[in-house]
């Protein structure tokens, strides 16, 4: 398709803004020398441009999207409807508080419900993404230790299967990262944890269910070991969808959490987003939270109350599902994952062949060894069937990993069709391994040269090229 710049013709733009009728007062040094090369298109062309772009992408609205660890569930229309109510849209964060009572009720109610679901006592809605929530939670942990003059606690323990954001957030917050290995079942190695947890431990970061989709049966022992060493326990809510309304991080011994509204609570990822990663904590940490009227607060991590309209959508989701619907969604997410896992396990070896939670990890190492067909080839093959590929090559502890998270919002027919496709692709891989390297054939672009793109990235449009 043409780029928007290539559809442009001089003088053909739309004129929605009135002519500027105030003199420009910027000093010459601050003015641009050449005018911006903005594309000039009539509205019909703009519309076609975006419709064309939409046609070249794949979203949950287009088809199955089992991207492991991302919880690509359906985003209900009622959320959008609630978030477009004029009373929520036409507000300004600086307007008189008395005139925003309804909006404040939304945020307070959401904080309260998220506390109930996670087993926490206090919550901030400020963080604008999951990793931002992690960063906030880690600053809270840091402020807590500092408030007790316990300044030798400089290390955060992270299992080797963790999401990359965990060590990254810990480093951003000024901690050193201690990576501990997983045991043969993909769970935390207790002996390694006992060895790592000591007087320099600020805390542990963990997802549960963990990154291979398993609920760690030793969770109470894990949090006890960290607490006895004087550290705090951080719950990464990436995988909360599997347990919401059934088990609570607070009851497992976690002190701080973040949740991803754009995963677990059905607000859109990316495009229609933005994201939102509220952070919560137990009451003894509440004075350190951002946005709270407390001298010990770490300060604001974002302006005002966070991404408010996303919060409206998440509240709409929780209220529509209710006390029965939230755990039912979690149960169905787990059921769907196990249904697919069992129907694929005979040809796609599971990295951990046991009952999983909301997602499962396959290892294609044997297939690659025998046929040369890699996890990447299988993932690319799916594109031709209109399915978004699963997460590839993650977690890092599983070779040739494909990580599948169907979510609860898919029908049994969709799952059966996906299973049929996975099996058909496997058959192709065995019969015609060479052909697999050429796939996909029917997508807007074919196999991209990721290596050249990474080694020699061209990220600027060149008007003269």
């Amino acid at each position: 398709m043409k780029l928007v710049f290539e559809r442009s013709a001089e003088g053909r733009g739309t004129r929605y803004l009135p002519e500027c009728d105030v003199p420009e007062r910027l000093p010459a040094a601050a003015l641009r020398e050449k005018p911006l090369r903005l594309p000039e298109l009539p509205e019909t062309e703009v519309d076609r441009h975006y419709t064309c772009l939409a046609g070249q992408t794949h979203g949950v609205n287009d088809g199955f999207y089992p991207l492991g660890s991302c919880t690509m569930k359906y985003n209900p229309q009622i959320n959008e409807k609630m978030a477009s109510l004029p009373g929520f849209v036409n507000i300004h964060p600086l307007q008189d508080k008395e005139s925003m009572k309804g909006c404040r009720e939304v945020t307070e109610k959401l904080e309260q419900l998220l506390c109930e679901i996670t087993g926490m006592d206090a919550m901030t809605l400020q963080p604008a993404a999951g990793a931002h929530g992690e960063f906030t939670g880690l600053l809270v942990i840091k402020a807590y230790h500092r408030s007790r003059n316990d300044t030798g606690r400089t290390k955060i323990i992270v299992p080797d299967s963790a999401h990359g954001t965990n060590p990254a957030s810990a480093a951003m917050a000024g901690f050193d990262v201690v990576s501990i290995p997983s045991d043969d079942h993909g769970c935390v190695d207790l002996d390694a944890l006992r060895e790592a947890a000591k007087e320099d431990t600020a805390g542990l970061m963990l997802t549960n269910p963990n990154t291979v989709g398993l609920f760690d049966p030793n969770i109470l022992e894990i949090t006890r070991i960290v607490h006895e060493a004087g550290g705090l326990c951080y719950y990464d809510g990436a995988n909360l969808n599997a347990i919401m309304g059934i088990a609570r991080p607070g009851d497992m011994g976690f002190d701080v959490v973040h949740v991803n509204l754009h995963k677990t609570f059905s607000t859109p990822h990316g495009g229609g987003g933005p994201g939102s990663g509220p952070s919560g904590c137990k009451s003894f940490l509440a004075p350190f939270l951002p946005g709270k009227d407390s001298p010990q607060s770490i300060g604001n991590v974002r302006s005002f109350g966070g991404n408010f309209l996303v919060e409206v959508k998440a509240l709409a989701y929780i209220l529509t599902l209710g006390r029965e619907g939230i755990p039912e969604a979690a149960r169905n997410a787990v059921l769907n994952a196990n249904y697919m896992r069992v129907k694929l396990a005979d040809i796609y070896p599971m990295a951990y062949d046991t009952i999983c939670m909301h997602e499962f990890v396959m290892s294609l190492e044997k297939l690659k060894h025998e046929t040369g067909v890699s996890a990447l080839d299988v993932a690319k093959a799916m594109l031709d069937y209109g399915i978004h590929p699963p997460t590839m090559y993650f977690p890092l502890i599983v070779h040739e990993a494909l990580m599948v998270e169907p979510t609860e919002t898919e029908t049994r027919e969709t799952l059966d069709e996906a299973i049929r496709i996975y099996r058909e692709i496997h058959e192709k891989a065995v019969k015609d391994p060479e052909g697999m390297h050429r796939l996909p054939l029917h997508t807007p672009v074919r196999r991209l040269d990721e290596v050249t793109a990474a080694r020699n990235p061209v990220i600027r449009y060149d008007f003269d090229a």
Partner: protein, 126 residues
């Protein structure tokens, strides 16, 4: 896959070529580059920095993942192979010529394997 006889190998898939008892070149093995896939970026240390046995001294990035490169020895970095930064494909094409660092004043060395031991080790790991 090829593992030269004259090199020593670590459990984290680095190779070491000793010039003498306290000087060595370090790189990643053929197995490591094969597992990582096409390498697109390397983050190298500075000359004069210290390395510690068992601690990372560099990281490499492939289209799949980012990985630490662990130093099998404790010593001082005498030379850094800065060409690798411009030509990361060297690590894929010629892993034993694509050394990362030359270390001098080596005071401590991790337990290293011979070619035969390393081949056995990766066969068990796979």
């Amino acid at each position: 896959m090829y593992f030269p006889e004259e090199l020593k190998y670590s459990k984290t898939h680095e190779w070491v070529r000793f010039e003498d008892e306290t000087t060595a070149y370090i790189g990643i093995t053929d197995y490591a580059q094969d597992q990582l896939g096409d390498l697109v970026y390397v983050n190298l240390p500075e000359e004069g920095e210290e390395t510690a046995a068992g601690e990372p001294f560099a990281d490499v990035e492939s289209v799949k993942a980012v990985s630490d490169v662990i130093s099998p020895v404790t010593g001082t970095i005498e030379e850094v192979h800065s060409d690798l930064a411009d030509e990361p494909q060297m690590m894929n094409q010629a892993p034993y010529e694509a050394w990362f660092i030359k270390v001098r004043d080596i005071s401590e060395t991790e337990e290293l394997m011979t070619r035969e031991e390393y081949e056995k080790f990766i066969a068990e790991e796979a």
